[in-house]
Symmetry: C2
Subunit: 142 residues, 2 copies
DNA sequence: CAATAGTTTAGAATAATTATAATATATAGT
DNA sequence: ACTATATATTATAATTATTCTAAACTATTG
């Protein structure tokens, strides 16, 4: 469990107190190879599966939002009904599988650089996110 | 009111019964020059402002979703908390003003063509949406 | 180890959306 | 035009997602 020291450190550096709950959530979110796309609900479910303890939903919300504010998580643009978060905070894009409602990372290198010729005057561009919606080829979507 | 005939026709062609409520909603949505970005709530508010009648919220939901299914409206990808719809159903992209929470159309011509080199196997691309988040230049967002 | 500032928690409150079931309306067939 | 039937609308209830609240708890500082 040497990794938990990293999480405690990580939280401290962001000015967040390393509470038990936050460290646990860190373990679930950041102890993994590939990036993790999730809704608050997904995460809450994972917590009760992988941990034996239960963390209050309100705390999950608070923690995720705290992590997002500190840049440890990124909120992803998807059609409005749910809020998705992403542990991959580098600039990248997404495929959204409309059949399975799954989100898949799309490497920035898989898309030729995007050149925006016209910006809103007086504003600066904070981010450019591409969402590529895909679906099974032989399936008719009505 | 010659325009209402168009709406009745439009609804009929989509197999939707031209009810009073649907025609009214058509008037509000499609009797305008520039595209209209809205949440269900925005639309409901507009209805009670511009019309003297009141249409049940459930009907507004049903109608908007029926229109979306028929391709008269497009749902737009934004960070999860709200569902936005767009009367502009042509391929185009959006600026999202994080200061004002306003959505502005971005013409496809203002962005150099996007070339996606790697698709998910067995899937076909249904749409490619770009969201450009902007904010005031001299304002610090924490 | 005590004080305090920040955190967690259960549950209430709010907001967004969908379901329900009764009533009303549009359409097709006469 | 009239009636039967299918579909739509409505108010309200139910559901789901999210935020707020106030009390109990915990990490940090001195």
């Amino acid at each position: 469990m040497t990794k938990n020291f990293n999480f405690i450190d990580k939280l401290r550096k962001a000015g967040l107190r390393p509470t038990k709950q936050r460290v646990k959530i860190c373990e679930i979110l950041f102890n993994r190879e590939k990036t993790f796309h999730f809704t608050i609900n997904d995460l809450a479910k994972k917590i009760s599966e992988e941990l034996n303890e239960k963390i209050s939903l309100a705390t999950v919300y608070n923690t995720v939002h705290a992590f997002e504010k500190k840049g440890y998580l990124k909120e992803i643009a998807i059609n409005g009904d749910k809020s998705y978060f992403d542990t991959n905070i580098t600039a990248h894009h997404h495929f959204y599988d409309e059949d399975t409602h799954e989100l898949i990372d799309c490497d920035q290198n898989d898309i030729d650089s995007i050149n925006i010729k016209n910006n809103i005057t007086g504003k600066k561009i904070n981010s450019v996110e591409i969402l590529i919606k895909v679906a099974s080829d032989n399936q008719n979507q009505n």
